[in-house]
Symmetry: C2
Subunit: 451 residues, 2 copies
């Protein structure tokens, strides 16, 4: 599409450009526009039909949006923001610098401005911050025919019409009814009789991840959001829920890899910002490795006496780290998906205990065979049987400790109100390293008398 746009821009054939773009999806138009030169963007944007222009605008990145807003006259700005859904307007305002925000707010009418301000005041991760205030409400006394008529009259600028909310005159949420229910019902049935009164709703301050998972669980297109007097104040739609679920997965993955979460895509983040997201954990983990170093220093004499012992340190540390992170990551994801609860902790411990013994013993056997066949016969390292035994016994103990630490720490973190995702590989690895070395050297001292 991009080449065609450039061609038509060059030949100034704007009517052909208009025809070309009118058939495209807003998402594709947005990504095509972003690739144009700065001075071409407003030209292309102006040939778009009003509604499509608004939809494409929402899909652009903040830099492109800012550029466009600055190129607009006040009238054009007003036209654009009249077309936008309120939740999208709020999302855009949150990304813009103060002077642009002022222009946007000036271009909206008083009522909209009040609603925007209200939405802006919900905490960042709350249901309120992602809800929209545009939805269809019905009254319980309406007939199906009246309800359908109301949807047909008012639905045109609502984000979703497929789930309608039945409220009392003071906005208390009484029930929900889907357009499908209305369409398959008789014209003269009463909304209050056929609506679903067992409504599952979210509260404005509820965590948005929570709300999104609830929606995924119940397969909801939209979920109503109520204030603390059970008055309907907004809805969260499925497209925002999908975004929340994707973002939360990304955030967890970043935390698990010892990165501070960022809300910009990788290629859009500057070098300095990337550094800022990565260096804190690297520093902290580096400093905490002091303990591991200290353990080695304390066993200096043992190591000087047998360098063969040193050669197995990396293998023991890595295997411990990997075993621990397998357990921790499984538990962290289970907690995030709400498959695992606090009360399962004994269950989990009992299971990890058995898994860790199975893993530890199989690794120890494989390792003993490897030392005897590969290290001694192929590489001629002459590792003595006692040292091989020390390494293998350590393996069993290390895998056991690693699995226990890996499975309990995330749960404990959650218990005391921390994010379990932080208790993933790098953190566990540092703890398990120290355990591995302590176990290793003590077993070595115990079993090899001349150390």
């Amino acid at each position: 599409m991009n080449e065609k746009i450039l061609e038509l821009l060059k030949s100034k054939d704007y009517s052909a450009l208009k025809a070309l773009l009118a058939g495209e999806n807003p998402q594709d138009i947005a990504s095509a526009i972003t690739k144009l030169d700065e001075e071409q963007i407003p030209i292309v944007f102006r040939v778009l039909p009003k509604e499509l222009a608004a939809e494409a605008f929402v899909e652009m990145d903040p830099d492109g949006q800012e550029l466009l807003i600055k190129s607009f006259s006040d009238v054009q700005l007003k036209q654009l923001f009249d077309e936008l859904y309120l939740d999208d307007t709020v999302d855009i305002i949150e990304e813009m610098p103060a002077n642009v925000v002022k222009r946007i707010l000036r271009s909206t009418d008083l009522e909209t401005r009040c609603q925007i301000n209200e939405l802006l005041h919900y905490p960042e991760d709350s249901a309120g911050s992602i809800m929209t205030t545009e939805y269809v409400t019905l009254r319980p006394a309406m007939t199906v025919e009246e309800a359908i008529l109301r949807i047909r009259r008012t639905g045109i600028d609502k984000e979703t019409v497929y789930t309608c909310y039945v409220t009392s005159s003071d906005s208390i949420l009484l029930g929900v009814i889907t357009v499908k229910d209305l369409l398959v019902a008789n014209d003269d049935a009463i909304v209050g009789d056929i609506m679903d009164t067992h409504v599952i709703y979210a509260e404005t301050n509820q965590d948005k991840e929570n709300v999104a998972r609830e929606m995924a669980k119940y397969d909801f297109l939209a979920i109503p959001v109520v204030d603390n007097e059970k008055r309907l104040v907004g809805i969260v739609t499925f497209d925002d829920a999908i975004d929340v679920i994707e973002d939360e997965a990304t955030e967890d993955i970043e935390k698990m890899a010892a990165i501070l979460p960022s809300d910009k895509p990788y290629l859009k983040t500057g070098v300095l910002d990337t550094w800022k997201k990565r260096i804190p954990w690297l520093l902290l983990l580096m400093i905490s490795a002091t303990f591991t170093g200290q353990i080695i220093t304390n066993f200096e004499s043992a190591l000087a006496g047998s360098v063969a012992l040193t050669a197995f340190i990396p293998m023991l540390m890595d295997t411990g780290g990997n075993s621990g992170s397998q357990a921790s990551v499984t538990i962290i994801r289970g907690l995030a998906l709400q498959e695992i609860n606090m009360k399962d902790i004994l269950n989990i411990l009992w299971k990890e205990l058995r898994v860790s013994l199975l893993c530890g013993v199989s690794l120890a056997c494989a390792n003993f065979a490897k030392i005897m066949l590969v290290d001694n016969l192929v590489f001629h390292n002459s590792v003595s049987v006692p040292i091989a035994a020390v390494v293998c016994i350590t393996l069993v103990v290390v895998v056991f400790c690693a699995k226990l630490v890996g499975s309990t720490l995330p749960i404990l973190a959650k218990r005391i109100g921390f994010d379990p995702a932080v208790m993933a590989s790098p953190f566990i690895t540092t703890i398990v390293d120290a355990i591995s070395l302590l176990v290793y050297f003590n077993i070595a001292k115990l079993m090899i008398t001349n150390l």
Copy 2:
């Protein structure tokens, strides 16, 4: 809810039980039923209204479903499966043992059985495997009034009616139209005139993750699936897309932690199965640590001369591993979300190069200060300045190498058709460990003359 159900079961007050359950959501009923005793489940299930029973059945876990199916007469089984959507039936069949599958297939009519068999034959991760064949089709010549009438007549047992598909008489997909479009249009408008002909569709063999992301990108409620002659054969609905997105995130997280992906929740997986998912990578990674051990053995004399050098091995290995996995995990997630493409590789390398220098230098400075102040003054380890210098220079080189390896391996893996997620922390750590030690010992030999 559970206590109430138990109470009513005890007093055999089935009509009160029926009234209680009729107002609940199928998901909640399913989870309540699962907690009951085996002989209570069929009793509770039988008091549910037909449609609700089917919806709750779909939400139960395979063990509960199997138990129920076995307790049903053939007539009851037929009634149940008549209520189910075809894609749910196929999902259930995939989980059941052969003898149960036979009973289910016997209870469906010939046409349904053919459709089930067809759906069962799509590859496991394809769009075809998650699509449903129940949707509303319209013809281009219909008026809006006729279209709405058709939806009202046929929509009752379709999974979604909100997106309708306009097809020619030989099932070729011509356009889509939403119920919202129909509701806000005039009664006598022609479907062919107002439908959207720029249809985004999936193909039966397309990867389901791909399709789900496409739907998330375009905010689709449903996406049509066509065969290779562009005939409409099914649709994928948003609830299945959300499940795919969650499952794929879980799978990637598992792979990143060196676990073979499993499709059962943690608490439902047996000890032996958990072991089987975890041991292959542990074994492989343990065996590959042979190289790191070999490097240490080769530098035996250097290490015997200065145990202080050994004390920094864990810190260097861990920092290298953490730096590498930060880069690899960022790239892996970027690739999964399609934010990063093959052609960005030079961009990424140039960026990681600068980030790695920033990280490396800041870590080296912090580490030098730490060695001088903490190790020497607090712990009295007497680390000489040359050794501190060797450690800090090694840090810079190791972080540099780790970031480059971490950012390029996932992209190369994708290039040659491997799953990038496998190139995460554990794998990168093993490679970076070997690099760290080689760099460390060689710099030490170069800078400290008496080694």
